[in-house]
């Protein structure tokens, strides 16, 4: 299949202009369409449209697993039905950058944070990459589930803030703030490291752990993770936090438990 012909437009609020040749197809996550030319047929497909050994039920199961990675169960398939090239414009869902990744340069696999997938070519698959290191899952800032995007051709990933692509050579290591990691290639080891000092972790505002990525391979890092952005916005929008009273409820319940145990089982 011919290479995808695209152009990324905009600074902080970007969209992609993909030019599809006759009969060429592209897939994008639902709700990302900005506009398409007249002869582009838009259809909805289950999951990433990939086949399954188990038939329809297996495809449905794959779509459910895919939805656990922050994507919707369905995606949109754009197909050029005319003989002339036609344009599809796919917009990013929020402020941030779109990065095209050529999967062939990464052994056909990249691992991204939840919801990073924006658009790509047909045949690419978005699957669960389950974090097997418990400490990384708990403290790495990306949780236990990430996206494993496999296949060939170009895939577009999106993350909020500015994106930086860094090539790690063998033995290179990078300390990254937890949550700032967008994607890694499959040869990169992603781990966590204790910040090394209690003072740093309490007053430094960087948390107890850094994420570390070590080479060889490529990593993508974002300047403004969504939860940091939303924290800033929420803080500005709300004067008070609604969670302040949770300790009172816990105290009440704990009081009940202690009372019962003292009344029934304490020896005098």
């Amino acid at each position: 299949m011919a290479q995808l012909n695209y152009q990324i437009i905009g600074g902080d609020l970007q969209y992609i202009n993909i030019t599809l040749e006759s009969g060429q197809e592209a897939i994008a996550e639902q709700g990302a369409m900005m506009y398409v030319d007249k002869d582009i047929a838009v259809s909805t497909i289950l999951g990433d449209g990939g086949a399954s050994r188990l038939g329809g039920l297996g495809r449905f199961w794959n779509a459910i697993k895919r939805s656990l990675t922050g994507e919707s169960m369905f995606s949109s398939l754009y197909r050029n039905t005319s003989l002339k090239p036609q344009t599809v414009a796919i917009a990013a869902p929020g402020p941030g950058e779109i990065i095209p990744v050529n999967l062939a340069e990464h052994g056909g696999v990249v691992i991204c944070q939840k919801g990073a997938y924006l658009a790509g070519e047909k045949g690419q698959r978005v699957q669960i990459a389950f974090q097997k290191r418990m400490r990384v899952g708990f403290f790495g800032g990306e949780g236990f589930i990430m996206q494993k995007i496999t296949g060939s051709g170009t895939v577009f990933i999106h993350a909020s803030g500015s994106l930086k692509e860094i090539v790690l050579k063998p033995n290179d290591e990078l300390k990254v703030d937890t949550g700032c990691l967008v994607g890694i290639s499959s040869t990169v080891r992603y781990d966590i490291k204790y910040t090394g000092s209690l003072k740093n972790s309490i007053f430094g505002g960087e948390g107890l752990f850094y994420a570390t990525v070590s080479g060889p391979g490529k990593v993508w890092i974002q300047s403004l993770p969504m939860n940091r952005l939303s924290k800033v916005l929420m803080g500005a929008a709300l004067t008070g936090s609604h969670n302040r009273t949770s300790w009172a409820g816990k105290l009440y319940l704990l009081g009940i438990i202690i009372f019962v145990f003292v009344a029934l089982f304490a020896k005098k």
């Binding site: 890694i184 290639s185 990169v188 949770s246 816990k250």
Partner: protein, 366 residues
Amino acid sequence: MHDFQVNLFGPGLPSAGQLTQLKVGRDSLQVPALKQLIPFTELSAKVGGADHNQLHLVWRHEGCSWLLIPDGLAAQKALLKVLPDNAVSGLSRWKRETLGQHLVWKTVVFLLSALLISALLIIWRYDDVVTWIAGRVPLATEYKLGQSILASLNTQTTLIDKGKAADAVKKIGGRLTKASPYQYQWRISNDPAINAFALPGGIVIVNKGLLEKSGSANELAGVLAHEIQHVEQRHALKNMITSSGIAAAVMLILGDANAVMMIMAHQVSAQYFSRQAEVDADMKGLDLLQKNKIDPKGLSAFFKTMQEAYKNKAQGPEWLSSHPDTGSRIRAVEDYMKGHPCQDCENLTWNKSAILASLAKEPVKN
């Protein structure tokens, strides 16, 4: 010599690595494409990759770092077989770390499923579990608990334990509790509210209002049987244990919810279980009445009296408000009586006017 397909990283090679041939000899690796010969002793093994399951072999050559990764897990397995653990530094550590990862997950899965199974068991055999815990509490503790509540009640209301009313209650109650391990105490409260309640350890308190409203001695017996079963089944203890269990569960499940939510969740679930206890006391109370040859229809008659008396009021009597829907209780009692007919059950008699007259002399404390 063994041949392997590996991905090679190093100066001048693409950032995603270069697929190449690797030859493994008796004590060295050979990369023909680079014309390099690396003795095992210069290699070190590292755990790498996004899944922390790749074997990364690192070495230095002419001041530069080189690294290779077997192409695919099958190649990695094969390579591991021919590499000697003691010659390549870090290889045994690599094996330990990747094995440890499996063990950690196995342990976690095992512990979680054990937790889940025991949680399911507890929910399934909830009654048995609570009964078992309640069984750990000695009767003396229960008795002390009851006495301390009684003492605080004494300061609020007049509790009468002598006279005709107390004797009448004692007579019926005594007949129902012949075979009980508890030492029952019977009290009449001068409270006009229609209510009767049991304290842990065998203290049953009947309000004056209830005596006034009961149509017959059998109705009183029905109420007493219900309260006695609260004592016998240790409902007060079980409710306390359930309450603390629910508190723990709510804390675990709601976590960060606010206080009002938590308290409401706790109250509503505790209410559910206390209603279960009421149904339990109804059914076992009927059984107790029949065992002692008392006609149990008094209980449903009492429910009907209550329903009639409070038909047009928003707030029902205290004795019913914390209890399940009266209509369904009447039906349950009548169904039970149909299924368990009692030919030789008798009607009790009492001198209601004399009892009420004796209570009229008692002062009312507020």
